[in-house]
């Protein structure tokens, strides 16, 4: 099974190489362990060991360094103070002559709105119930998958 997965990954990378810049290269920023497990072997996953707001702030830092948002940071109707998990698709910015690329204004606007939206929800106690945590991971993963399916099309 593992061999088959490695083979698929290698095949996918081959396709990526073949299509070069025409194929979207992106990475997944997430604090959802289930998302990291699901996409770890096939995609570039950058795990954030922290809370939902830490994912948004890390995304904001990366956007300031030239990364471009590919998915909406406020996805899902599960409110940001409710779910502990968030995953974001980002495209790496290309450096120009060793300089950081200019920040994408639309990405800056969206991530700024997302951080502001998070701050207006009251802080709730940390979720510890394992079943509840699993449900939150499953929903975050489902929303992420719908973005990945669009990105990989």
């Amino acid at each position: 099974m593992m061999k088959q997965r490695e083979c698929c990954t290698r095949f996918a990378r081959g396709i990526l190489f073949f299509y070069g810049d025409n194929k979207m290269k992106y990475f997944i920023l997430t604090n959802n362990p289930m998302a990291a497990e699901e996409f770890g072997d096939t995609h570039d996953v950058r795990f954030v060991d922290g809370r939902l707001i830490d994912v948004l702030i890390r995304a904001r830092d990366l956007i300031n360094e030239g990364a471009v948002l590919l998915s909406h940071p406020l996805y899902g109707s599960v409110k940001p103070n409710e779910t502990p998990f968030r995953s974001v698709l980002l495209q790496q910015g290309k450096s120009q002559d060793g300089e950081l690329p200019p920040a994408d204004t639309e990405s800056v606007r969206l991530i700024g709105n997302a951080v502001s939206a998070f701050e207006k929800f009251i802080d709730k106690k940390e979720v510890t119930d394992p079943k509840l945590l699993e449900d939150f991971m499953v929903v975050d993963l489902s929303l992420l998958k719908s973005a990945v399916e669009s990105a990989d099309r």
Partner: protein, 426 residues
């Protein structure tokens, strides 16, 4: 397209040995409905209950609300793609059971929202405290995954609503309303001096618990298209949306869309209601760009003068709403957008997660962060086990005296973004 909608007023629901409708009373034998639910092997058991306006009853967590209907003339059947084949519906004659609803409940995920109180202050916030509710609480088989459970309960609700709707076949309606839209050329010739108005209906399409279906198709896969509002009355659009109780659009609200009702009421008088345009609210930003581009293009190609745009949900859909508004306005078509607000408990925060100067005509369904205290009620249909975990609640939600301190976002339909709610500044 021309649809006659016959309305049969239901004044009471009772359990009985024989399922039938007689003198406005719906008699239901749960043994007739149970096999309809259990034909899906993913559902282990179902319990039916009845909740009536004014009773000390709380229904939670509500998944969907559906109005039973039956198609008696014209192509196709109710809920095409689910309980009927995919013939194009929206023409002929349909009978609807008014004053009642089928309410599906079940804990698909631990944080699922949706409260319908049949009495007290909570009842004032939900339109479904005024309907006689035939409730069905579904229990899944052991180990069923969340995706499968959601699909099973969703589809069981349509089957039960269709089965109950069948009881109306052959009954003379108390009232009949006729809804008719014209073809483009015919409409222009018939109403040359009236503004051409469309309705852009944004459908929730983000993933598990956040989906909507059109003729059985997952709407995140569609590109925006036009549809006759009468098709929607026949169940062409159904909800698979479980969260954001206050501003999700249950199937019932698609069937009884108040924007469509109001536009039809003015059709041929002050405006020419041309059609409904459906679009989605995907999470991938390029999908948003494509869909809003297409929606704006359709508005232009249809030579519309104005559109009403309604959204579903909060956050991510705010961006779709503003993209649609900006691009449609840029085509020279006036917009009015209908939304709700998450303005914080004090109402002082930014209401939407996105904004633009083009959005200069906005109707709000209310502030979802508004706090109320729901009284302890005598009976719960469903379960309260996770009520502290849902959005708009906190660890202190369930008080020792049994009352609940919550934001109104937990209440089904409280700030509905099609204007189906009851909040008003008047």
């Amino acid at each position: 397209m021309r649809l006659e909608l016959g309305k049969i007023n239901i004044t009471d629901i009772q359990f009985a040995n024989e399922s039938k409708i007689e003198k406005g009373v719906l008699y239901v034998n749960p043994d007739d409905l149970k096999p309809v639910v259990l034909e899906d092997e993913k559902i282990k058991d179902v319990v039916f209950d009845i909740a009536k306006p004014g009773e000390s009853v709380r229904i939670t967590p509500v998944k969907d609300v559906i109005e039973p209907r039956v198609k008696v003339e014209g192509k196709g059947g109710i809920f095409p793609g689910w309980t009927s084949k995919v013939d194009t519906v929206g023409s002929g004659k349909t009978l609807a059971l008014k004053g009642m609803a089928v309410v599906t409940a079940g804990k698909i995920v631990g944080f699922q929202e949706g409260i319908i109180d049949m009495t007290g202050i909570g009842a004032q916030y939900t339109p479904f405290s005024k309907t006689l509710n035939l409730c069905m609480v579904c229990e899944p088989v052991e180990g069923l995954k969340q995706h499968d459970y959601e699909a099973a309960v969703r589809k069981a609700g349509f089957r039960v609503a269709a089965k109950v709707g069948e009881l109306a076949r052959g009954i003379e309606p108390d009232e009949t309303c006729v809804y008719e839209t014209q073809g483009i050329k015919e409409g222009i010739e018939k109403y040359p001096d009236l503004p051409r108005v469309g309705y852009v209906s944004m459908l929730q399409t983000q993933g598990l618990l956040h989906d909507t279906y059109v003729y059985g198709v997952d709407a995140k896969q569609i590109i925006p298209t036009i549809i006759s509002p009468t098709e929607v009355m026949d169940g062409a659009i159904v909800s698979g949306n479980c969260v954001s109780a206050c501003d999700k659009n249950p199937t019932y609200i698609h069937q009884n869309n108040p924007v469509v009702e109001d536009l039809f009421a003015q059709h041929g008088k002050t405006l020419n209601f041309v059609c409904q345009i459906i679009t989605n609210e995907n999470v991938y930003l390029a999908d948003k760009e494509r869909s809003s581009n297409m929606t704006a293009k359709l508005c232009r190609m249809l030579d519309l003068d104005g559109v009403v745009v309604t959204q579903e949900g909060f956050g991510n859909p705010d961006t779709d709403l503003i993209m649609n508004c900006k691009k449609i306005e840029a085509e020279g078509v006036k917009t009015v957008i209908v939304t709700d607000e998450y303005a914080g408990r004090d109402g002082k925060s930014q209401s939407l997660a996105d904004a633009d100067a083009a959005a200069d005509a906005v109707v709000t369904g209310g502030n979802a962060n508004e706090v109320i205290v729901l009284p302890k009620l005598d009976k719960v249909i469903g379960m309260l086990d996770y009520v502290n975990k849902i959005a708009g609640a906190s660890e202190d939600t369930l008080r020792p005296d049994g009352t609940l301190e919550v934001e109104i976002q937990v209440i089904t339909g409280a700030t509905n973004e099609m204007g189906f709610g009851v909040l008003s500044a008047r």
